[in-house]
Amino acid sequence: MAKVSMTVNGKAASGDVEGRTLLSSFLREQLGLTGTHVGCDTSQCGACVVHVDGKAVKACTMLAQEAEGAEVATIEGQANADGSLNTIQQAFQDHHGLQCGFCTPGMVMSAAALLKDNPKPTEAEIRDYLEGNLCRCTGYHNIVKAIMAASGQDVSSIAAE
């Protein structure tokens, strides 16, 4: 066991972990931040995407100890200070970009990372960027639409309500 310390959603967090403890396990089991989901064991599904020092990372693919001293952001810290949904979260609700909600935290965190680097992505750029985030419910239609809307683009001409 080794002690690991990091900042999670702006607050100091620490705990004792085994060498094999994944960042996703540390967040879920030791910090109780169960919004970060684990949907596979091969780093394909992206339900566990968090930000580590500002970069989107699959938390199942990083050891907790590798995050020593890092700034970690999870879905629990994304809402506005008053508790209201942030722009991306609100766009997902407005455009029905989620159904069962399991992939959603990873989708929101990936979308945030994309829009930070590319504030007005095209449809193709969004679809390409989401290559590492699987959703089984939505057929991706409303996820792509929500991310375009969150970036301030007019989505009214995209098919269906």
């Binding site: 919004g35 989901h37 629990e76 609700q93 159904q99 069962c100 909600g101 992939c103 679809r127 057929g139």
Partner: protein, 787 residues
């Protein structure tokens, strides 16, 4: 102007806020104080005898609480099959015992051989490594044709063969059917495979068993689409527990698509082990486990023949299908290739003679059961492919050939036992041609050709049967359960309402759409109505969510219970206003006496029901709570037409979906936004089946595509924006909302459109390709083009 409240409106989903902020409560998010963890040692060979299991070294490992093997479950029942099919000779299906833990024989890779319960998951995994197994190799049976051949090794030694049942449906008279083919002007024959799939909801399965010695009560937290069904099956057939001592909770569930209907060994194990170990026992599936323990879907091999007369009218249809059951019969496995498939073989067409022949087969593979659509995609795929092939052989337009053979008068009795109550297939096809912009296809094809690509257009129709019922009829057909649903409407003293529903929402948005109905009926704001679901301790009863039944069956129960509430509330209002019950009207949450200006508000009536000071106590009980059970008179029949446009790269065989259009008739619609989303998701899965997904086994019974690295799930860049329309609406005639169900349409209706489009593209490029089996991977398409 779109509505902003009630039936037909699209309010934002109330469940979204918790999911978008990480506050969802999925089963793996639950931890019970003092819980232990179980790791299942699973078979890594497909077929073997278990000569011995030595757990002594493992038991001595740190943290180990107890290790279970098949012997511990010798006195426990097997996992039941919920549907008994009678074969063509009147005999029952062959039904092997389905143990919780393999006892003396392993029958598929992934079957549980031992279960290690330890303080931590890591300790349980480490200890499992120390279990010594002595196995005797047996030959694996994987291919269905080989499994049915004389002399094949048997999956179950105590059965007579690997045949589960040999079933015929529709017209059983072989000679009469053959005569129809003999007299046909044209016969089109097609042999095809409906590829085996893995449902893969993004949330893997989880089960937590908890037991209270103080009350002798069990609690099972599980990722289920139907907690009451799990409680019933587990209590009555597996563990022999009284239902009132067992509570099953299915909290937020991260998708199901059928795979979370079934009662699984892990649920019974955790319930059993919690009492045996004296502490809660938790299991969370890895994705690797999910691939080899969640029931798979589809896996049919079919020959279909279509007879036409000289005017291109369909005169007869005959199918021969082998359907894989896997090693054991999962909960609804036997109903899928029989009644959920055979009854749909008429499709949207007035073919007078239909004969469906199905052999179901045991193999050394994971059990196969319902996956989104369940039998109906298999029926639709073969029918809509053979029609397209017939059109090509006859030089007919595929759309015109379909239109010519549409059923146009309703109600319509099919030759495969259904009565379609309503529909308008011409209208949905008209709408499709508009939405898909058929007129612009030639220009788009020319543009693709300029870019060196082949462009194809494919269309298909579909019909599905949702809300399986009535219970007495399905009972005669072999169902071992009722297929009604139930709802309790509990009005609180201050007028807010909790509706306890037997349906379970795992992505369908019931928490938003169900209150729309109740609020609309009473005329109050939706925020005053909440849905309670997923907990046998809070919901009286229910059969759960599958087969696109939630709004049609459970929603109808909710309407009936709300009608009872309104009827009682009117009596209270009549008393308060000193009027006759018959003169009371309810609108916008106000009770009025017809023809007067007297009124009393909803909230005042509710308060009076619970504070009955001025109340007709001699005639009416206090309180305002009503329950209804609703057993539908018939299935509902959503139908529609889908169109796909693809580009094929002739150099690589890579297919890309350029456009996909859907015109659906779902009857009346409660929440259009949610309906669109359901169709989108179904299309994504159907396109996945057509182009990407395949659960492939090798001849030794090893699943080759057993992770997301090998099993190609559809990704965002595999699919386009979809054009979805549901403006054609012929309301269901026999349920109070006129609704039909929309959950599976997309998955049922899309695979044939994709394949038809690819064939069209290849033929436009001069390639004489009549069929390619799904998934249409670049390798398969390239091989077909260059074959």
């Amino acid at each position: 102007m779109p509505k902003d409240n009630g039936i037909g409106a699209s309010p934002k989903r109330r469940e979204d806020v918790r999911f978008l902020t990480g506050a969802g409560n999925y089963t793996d998010d639950i931890n019970v104080h003092g819980q232990a963890h179980v790791h299942f040692l699973r078979a890594d060979v497909a077929h073997a005898t278990i000569n011995s299991i030595d757990t002594s070294a493992a038991e001595a490992m740190p943290g180990v609480v107890k290790i279970f093997t098949g012997a511990d479950f010798a006195e426990v029942g097997g996992i039941p099959c919920g549907w008994g099919v009678t074969d063509r000779h009147g005999n029952p299906q062959q039904e092997p015992r389905h143990p919780i833990i393999a006892h003396d024989t392993i029958r598929h890779v992934g079957e549980i051989v031992a279960a290690v319960v330890a303080d931590t998951l890591e300790q349980a995994r480490d200890a499992a490594e120390a279990i010594e197994l002595d196995l005797g190799d047996k030959p694996a049976v994987v291919n269905m044709g080989a499994a049915l051949a004389d002399g094949s090794p048997k999956v179950h030694e105590d059965l007579t063969s690997n045949l589960c049942y040999d079933w015929v449906f529709g017209n059983p008279d072989d000679d009469a059917v053959q005569a129809a083919f003999d007299s046909a002007a044209h016969v089109t024959t097609l042999e095809l495979v409906n590829n085996r799939l893995v449902a893969n909801p993004m949330e893997p399965r989880v089960a937590i068993g908890d037991y209270s010695r103080a009350t002798d009560e069990h609690t099972l937290y599980t990722t289920s689409q139907n907690p009451h069904v799990i409680r019933l099956l587990m209590c009555a057939f597996v563990l022999g527990l009284p239902e009132h001592k067992v509570r099953v909770i299915a909290p937020d569930v991260g998708g199901g698509f059928g795979s979370k209907i079934f009662h699984y060994a892990e649920e019974a194990f955790c319930t059993f082990a919690a009492k045996a170990c004296g502490r809660a026992v938790k299991w969370t599936s890895t994705r690797a486990e999910a691939f080899i323990s969640d029931a798979h879907g589809r896996d049919h091999v079919t020959k279909i023949e279509l007879a036409l007369d000289a005017d291109n009218n369909f005169t007869a249809l005959r199918t021969n299908t082998m359907a894989n059951m896997g090693a054991y019969l999962s909960t609804f496995s036997t109903s899928v290739p029989s009644y959920l498939h055979g009854t749909l073989m008429a499709g949207n067409y007035k073919t007078p003679i239909v004969q469906v022949n199905v052999k179901t087969v045991f193999t050394n593979t994971v059990p196969v059961d319902a996956y989104r659509g369940a039998g109906r995609p298999e029926a639709t795929y073969q029918l809509e492919r053979v029609i397209d092939k017939a059109a090509r052989e006859l030089g007919a337009d595929p759309v015109a050939l379909r239109r010519q053979n549409f059923i146009t008068e309703f109600p319509y009795e099919t030759p495969v036992a259904l009565t379609y109550d309503t529909g308008d297939y011409v209208a949905t096809m008209d709408k499709l041609e508009q939405v898909a912009d058929v007129a612009g296809f030639a220009a788009r094809r020319a543009e693709s050709e300029k870019n060196g690509k082949l462009r194809g257009f494919g269309v298909n129709c579909y019909i599905e049967a949702c809300g399986i019922a009535p219970s007495n009829i399905v009972g005669m057909l072999g169902a071992r359960a009722g297929l009604y649903d139930a709802a309790t409407v509990r009005v609180n003293a201050t007028g807010s309402i909790s509706v306890m529903v037997g349906a379970h929402s795992h992505g369908q948005g019931h928490e938003t759409s169900f209150p729309q109905v109740v609020a609309d009926m009473i005329g109050i704001d939706e925020s005053m109505v909440d849905i309670v679901h997923g907990d046998t301790g809070r919901v009286p009863f229910g059969m759960g969510t599958y087969g696109s039944r939630s709004i049609a069956v459970c929603g109808s129960a909710m309407v009936r219970a709300t009608e009872k509430i309104i009827a009682k509330a009117k009596k209270i209002a009549a008393h308060l206003m000193e009027a006759s019950d018959a003169d009371i009207e309810l609108k916008d949450g106000q009770f009025t006496v017809a023809g007067t200006d007297k009124s009393v508000a909803w909230g005042d009536v509710c308060l009076t029901a619970y504070v009955p000071h001025n109340y007709p106590l001699e005639e009416l009980e206090p309180g305002l709570e009503e329950t209804a059970f609703y057993d539908p008179a018939n299935f509902t029949y959503p139908a529609g037409a889908y169109a796909c446009e693809v580009e094929v790269d002739p150099d690589t065989g890579k297919v890309s979906i350029e456009r996909f259009a859907a015109a659906d008739d779902f009857g009346n619609i409660i929440n259009p936004m949610i309906v669109d989303g359901q169709v989108h998701g179904g299309l994504g899965q159907g396109i996945g089946q057509a182009l990407l997904e395949n659960a492939a086994y090798d001849e030794d019974g090893q699943l080759l595509s057993a992770s997301f690295m090998d099993y190609a799930m559809p990704r965002a860049d595999d699919v386009p924006f979809y054009q979805v329309d549901h403006s054609c609406q012929t309301p269901c005639t026999h349920n109070p909302l006129g609704v039909k169900g929309c959950g599976e349409a997309g998955a049922i209706g899309s695979p044939p459109a994709v394949v038809n489009a690819v064939i069209d593209a290849l033929q436009s490029g001069g390639k004489n390709v009549a069929h390619i089996d799904m998934p249409l991977s670049p390798a398969r398409v390239w091989a077909a083009m260059n074959g």
